[in-house]
Symmetry: none
Subunit: 194 residues, 4 copies
DNA sequence: CAATAATCGAGACGGTACGTCTCGTCTTCTT
DNA sequence: AAGAAGACGAGACGTACCGTCTCGATTATTG
């Protein structure tokens, strides 16, 4: 059945090649050295095909993020039943991930992109920190009374993620206890067994 | 007496003109559109004079930050004796500052610069959040027992500042209670008398 | 009865719209800025319809010339019985025509097209100078003995037309006596009774 | 001694390389396929260096003409004392030159350039026909009474050259007698010994 | 009267070149 | 030396057209 449009339909293969190339280039050359010409060449596509569908580099990156091409495995929190433990584990994984200079540069690059482009910004906390899953985990912590009912869940997530990002931006190497200390600050110090 | 070097000494006037021009251009055109040629023209200086003394744009910005040319008034926290209140006030001022789209863009620009340049990154939390003063304020809070003695002061500052930056990057408009909620999130809920 | 071909016949309306658009664009934008896309848009036709029937821009222009769409009125010589006078009048009209900058540009454009495309070249002298009529006029001059029987009629036409074109190309403004001098140059000086 | 200007002086080597490359490309690829990028690559120069000094392709060609880089040997008329003979010889050489398809294309290309650019146009008749030398030859013919004193010398040159150009543009192959016939037309038929 | 074949408008596509912008280096003259 | 002026090679920008191609819709012809 007709779709109301005429002319050749958009080439899905080209679209994916472009997004994949965007991810490749973003990872290898970082945001500041990302070029549309490079992406076009890498994707085997003409520049015009890129400009026809995406207004800016940022839009490309944002879409590559949506397609899940930027990060290999999303860093999502677990749910073992112990909120404090789950948060520490998640943060530790994040810090560990960023201990590899390549990954740290990738995150920094993503922050740079987010700073210059709203589309990327909108997806930043989701992409870096799996924010929505994290929020869900915290809300489940409220149900198990590990968190008081009026805890500002979103703000807690922003604080944890923000602390991570500030560390990345200020280039302060992360010490071992950082994750625990941050969670302590946010949930209050660990009870009894401490 | 001679300083052991020959030839004309460095022109301090030119140095300041360059840094001032850097600040002007940074504020008006943002980091992504900052050009060395533009700075040179604005400062009435040749490009070579810039390249002779600064290796990168980031170094220029970092030095302009040190000279206090980027932000009009530093947003420092007060000390009224009530820590929680002082923090909320400070955060509110920050959010208020960023409510002006021009300032928000300025902060975003600074984050972009920090992401791409270590010199700027090192000074980011100081410049945006007056981090050292804030740390001092928190430490004085420990003395007045408003904070437990082992509170992770630096991490708390990172969390507060980071939450602010995450908000800026994700372009989420700030609602009225944000500052209070954030302090609650990071220090735990306000005690009894609330 | 069938013509041996199946499918929809060529759309004559589209053909004329294309040629008319070619003429419009040629006149307003000149040969160097003539684009197939512009013609297609102007004619309300798809590019493919143009490429299906004409191999090059030159072919389009040549056909527009044949259809008489490029020049409003062909500049044909008269026959008053006085050959020399008729030639001077004709040349004067030509010079007068080209005195309007718009027309001069049009002729130059046509020369450019002729230089780059054989189809246009073939029709150049006919289109600019009504060459065949001019040759006929000269041959009638032989019959009235105003011209010697072995006069190289075609070469004379080429010389007159060529001189005009050289003037156009070299951008030399035409003075009043030019037409007369040129006829003198090509036919030899006027005889006795002058 | 100072010349009043500061900054590096124009690089003469680059200038010549560019003009030489222009000539090369013009000869091998013709005007319509001449590209600034190609010239820059051929000359080993950046595009900006070209655009800094020449506003258009036409200006490049015009300057290459002035430097005598476009035509190997200028086609200048001789002076044997016999005007008619010298003109026929000159025209014959011209026709002979253009009989090689490569040269014909070169002349056509030059006409195209002249049609689209005034700088080239100004130099066309000089470059193709050595117009000034030809005019001088005709004036010397007046002194020897081979030409009447009031002969329109410039117009005669335009007519001869124009006839040549029209032949080139209309792609009419040149027959053997063409040169003689044209000169006959212009000087009147040859006297006695014919 | 279905199957076939050609036309047409629309528009996506890989390419090439455009003319501009900025980079970081360099060369010259002046202070 | 340091500095102003500015030329230079390099390379990316975003745009304009090229000529080809794929669509779906619309005619005609033919078996």
């Amino acid at each position: 059945m007709a779709n109301g449009r005429r002319g050749a339909p958009r080439n899905e293969e080209a679209r994916l090649a472009i997004l994949q190339a965007t991810a490749n280039q973003f990872i290898t050359r970082h945001y500041e050295h990302l070029t549309v010409e490079g992406i076009a060449a890498d994707a085997g596509v003409s520049k015009q095909t890129i400009y026809r569908w995406w207004p800016t580099k940022g839009a490309l990156i944002a879409e590559a993020m949506i397609e899940g091409l930027l990060f290999a495995e999303p860093l999502t929190p677990l749910d073992t039943g112990d909120l404090r433990h789950d948060l520490v584990t998640w943060l530790d994984t994040l810090f560990e991930f960023a201990r590899d200079e390549r990954n740290e540069a990738l995150v920094r690059s993503l922050v740079a992109a987010a700073a210059e482009n709203a589309d990327v910004g909108l997806r930043l906390s989701e992409s870096v920190g799996a924010a929505s899953t994290l929020i869900a985990r915290l809300e489940s912590g409220i149900e198990t009374s590990e968190l008081r009912p009026d805890a500002p869940v979103t703000d807690i997530v922003n604080a944890l993620l923000g602390a991570f990002i500030v560390r990345i931006l200020t280039r302060i190497p992360t010490d071992v206890g950082a994750a625990t200390r941050l969670v302590d600050a946010v949930l209050g110090p660990a009870p009894a067994s401490r």
